[in-house]
Amino acid sequence: MKPIILDVDTGVDDAMAIAYAARSPELKLVGLTTLFGNIPAAIAARNSLLMLELLEREDVPVFAGAEKPLFRPGKETYAEMVHGDDGLGNTVGQTAPKGKVADMPAARFIADQVRRMPGEVTIIAVGPLTNLATAVLMEPEMPRLVKEVIIMGGAVDAPGNVTPHAEANIYNDPEAAEIVFRSGMPITMVGLDVTMRTLLARSHLAKWRAKGTRLGQVLADAADFYMDFYETSNPGIGGCPLHDPLAVGMAIDSSFCKTEKLPVEVDTEGILSTGRTICDRRAMPAKPPNVNVCLEVDADRFLAHFLSRVG
């Protein structure tokens, strides 16, 4: 079993990623680390605890992390229209979880775990990269100690989502992303080039509901809400992309995506380009490659695998 830390801003697709990871025997979920992003940090922590409860995986500790970006003011608005006021498509409202977050900051936990298990821990970060960047700053040996970092974020050939050119996780903390990309850690980038092609259709939701469990109900209703947003922003899309679950999928089976090692940097300065992942695709790139970029995905095989675990 592969020890993983899942870093989340829970979020509808984060919730699906948590379920996927928690139900996959290949992965040993060492802990969840949480932060702001889709929703404020407090809601991310709460939703992560609730999801573990629904999954009957209260054994997994949750560590609360960043409430705002490294060098920018905290967000004034969040993506309620995407993820609902409660971050889970308005399925849980004000529900308080039974569990509590652990008494340690998320970044500290990440740094400690990679130090404790050198070369073993895979970090799957599916929110802004603030916790991970903070861990890199805390533990300069992260590049040597971590097995792999898989991030959901960025876009190389595909358009952005939050701006025409930037993907939301990178845009939410571009400096953190740049620290991570420059760190020397082995990074696999699961960006919009592939995640936008992994669609969960509404027809799948009936099976989740038919389970008659609270988990199935919450996942189906949250996904329903999420799909409504995608239908508005991407008319005719016919479902919702499985952004965060695909990052988990890549930890289980890296053959889901075709990757290419490329030089990637993050724009932190542009008027139109802030948060854009700048990838040097020229015949003679100016810098050595630093990121394993997912460019193609076997969407059908991945979706079948995801549904076999979460369905």
Binding site: S233, D267, S273, R282
Partner: protein, 318 residues
């Protein structure tokens, strides 16, 4: 068919020289004037090279040349690129020092005057920085509505840049000028790297040109073309990893001005990034599923390479 009346703006430059030759020799284009500016070389060298090319084909009396901007609007000029265009900007080919002089008129003023003389008639073909046009627009914004259109070589939509991972040299070389031009409301056709990188000339094509232009009176032009092309083949192999072929960036813009059917275009709203170490000079379009309603440019996305190259060789060999 009436020839298309153009003003050509150049930073001559090897492929600029080819674009000038193409425009002068094409029966479908009528060159009303050439404006010059900094870019591949300094404005002075661009002017000198332009005059020298005109004299090579004996057209110095017919086509006025006006010198323009010597630096970007708000930035220092980075200097020439001798590794791509040679020390003299013409692949070190020794053209005689020109006898003629440019007009006393500043290129932006020349543009404004010519546009007002023939409102709605002129197509501007810009194959260097857009600085001269941005200055002209600042002096007289009304010209935006009085040109037939602007065909520019520059930018990149879905392909990598050349000077940076995301920026093409002409836009990168004066991004603020490009921004002013793209926001001006002038009808624009963007002939960017999406098509110019596919409009490649091969060594075989050069051999063809020599066969097609075997007549003795054509030899000065053929020798010149061969000389600058040889340099360009090597430069592209060394610096762009292209072997035995190179893109006809600037000539393609001239060819598109006379025959738009060489390319397929998409309507987009092109915005120019003017800030940021990594992104400055990027030509950006919102390609998300819901597209902006407003557009400002026809962006070339496909080119009929074989038909263009055949036309290019035919015109040069005329």
């Amino acid at each position: 068919m009436e020839p298309v009346k153009i003003i050509l703006d150049v930073d001559t430059g090897i492929d600029d020289a080819l674009a000038i030759l193409y425009a002068l020799k094409s029966d479908r284009l009528q060159v009303e004037g050439i404006t010059t500016g900094f870019g591949n070389v300094s404005a002075e060298v661009a002017t000198r090279n332009t005059l020298a090319v005109l004299e090579l084909v004996g057209l110095a009396d017919r086509v006025p040349v006006a010198m323009g901007a010597s630096a970007p609007l708000f930035r220092p000029w980075d200097g020439p690129v001798p590794w791509i265009h040679g020390e003299n900007g013409l692949g070190n080919y020794p053209l005689p020092e020109p006898k003629g002089q440019p007009l006393a008129e500043f290129a932006p003023d020349f543009l404004i005057r010519k546009i007002h003389e023939q409102p709605g008639e002129l197509t501007l073909v810009f194959v260097g920085r857009l600085t001269n046009l941005a200055i002209a627009l600042a002096k007289d914004p009304s010209i935006a509505g009085k040109v037939k259109k602007l065909v520019l070589m520059g930018g990149a939509l879905r392909v990598p840049g050349n000077v940076t991972p995301v920026s093409e040299a002409n836009i990168w070389g004066d991004p603020e000028a490009a921004h002013r031009v793209f926001e001006s409301g002038m009808p624009i056709t963007m002939v960017g790297l999406d098509v110019t990188m596919k409009a490649t000339l091969t060594r075989d094509d050069v051999r063809k040109l020599k066969e097609m232009a075997a007549a003795p009176e054509k030899q000065p032009l053929v020798r010149f073309a061969e000389g600058i092309l040889d340099f360009y083949f090597e430069a592209y192999e060394k610096h762009n990893g292209m072997r035995g072929s190179f893109p006809l960036h600037d000539p393609l813009a001239a060819a598109v001005a006379e025959d738009a059917s060489l390319v397929a275009t998409e309507r987009h709203y092109i915005r120019i990034e003017t800030k940021g170490r990594l992104s400055v000079g990027a030509t950006l379009a919102d390609m998300r599923r819901i597209r902006p309603k407003e557009t400002n440019a026809d962006v070339c996305v496909q080119v009929d390479r074989d038909r263009f190259v055949a036309r290019f060789l035919h015109v040069l060999a005329r």
